[in-house]
Amino acid sequence: MAAEQGKVDPMKQFQIEPIIGSNWSLADGFNIAFTNSALWMAITVALVWVFVAGGMKRELVPGRWQMAVETMTGFIDDMLAANIGKEGRKYVPYIFSLFMFILFGNLLGLMPIGLFGLHPFTFTSHFTITGVLALMSFSIVLIVGFWKHGFHFFSLFIPHGTPAPMIPLLFVIELFSFLIRPISLALRLFVAMMAGHVLLKILATFVIDSVNAGPVFGATIGPAALILMIAISALEILVAGIQAYVFALLSSLYINDAENLH
């Protein structure tokens, strides 16, 4: 459904547009242009790099910056130690990169740089991107699980103490709940980010339209919608953090299944 003329389309912010190379093609019909999504991913990686590099001085008495980075790494380290155990340490680089990439991506998408005419793009609001991130976690689970336990990995689908007649049924149910994990992981992040951004855009439309509708509506609905929008923005910052945390937490729980079975 296309938006009617003169209306703000809340879905336009998710449009992927090529910045350079709209005619670069790998094969017929496959375009590999550098898009706004790719640009914001590159900006995110650069910022995470700067943030972490600034705290890598390894001073005996850490400064503020080093403390900030060490709090983040310590947070992920504690989470993996609590969920996986001492084997969890080797996943710290992966989970930390995943967490920081998603967190910075979510927060950068909320930056009010629209004031300067730039358009922040939240790449985590696209199923293709969150889907690839979820598939990476899922691949690690599969590879580690089969590498470490071989075909014994399938015992993950049969909980301890299952009566023999129930095994075929439970195996199928557990198998499906296992296979749905990457989809639910990707879906949660993508829908949470998209829903929040659509909501903010719709509230912004309320402000603009109520002011355009005359002084009465402009004085009543406009300020109310603006205050609500500021409050929802604060909520979105919370959601950005929670969703990055939940993604890292669930990834570590799934890796725990592969490391330790039950």
Binding site: L187, I242, V246, L249, L253
Partner: protein
Amino acid sequence: MDMEAAKMIGAGLAAIGAGLAALGVGNVFAKFLEGALRNPGAADSQQGRLFIGFAAAELLGLLAFLVAVILVFVA
């Protein structure tokens, strides 16, 4: 009924699911707080489980949103 109207009504009905998920998410945090106030010493160690419960409850609400979006933009 007009097809376009039916889609919009369906999308609106799907929004009920978001409200129900709000009840679920509220319940998760309410019960956690209830337990945490009874035994504050054990609260911090259960924060991971709190967010697992939150994520599970929230996902079902997000699915309702997804159904609405698919009805409006895809179907």
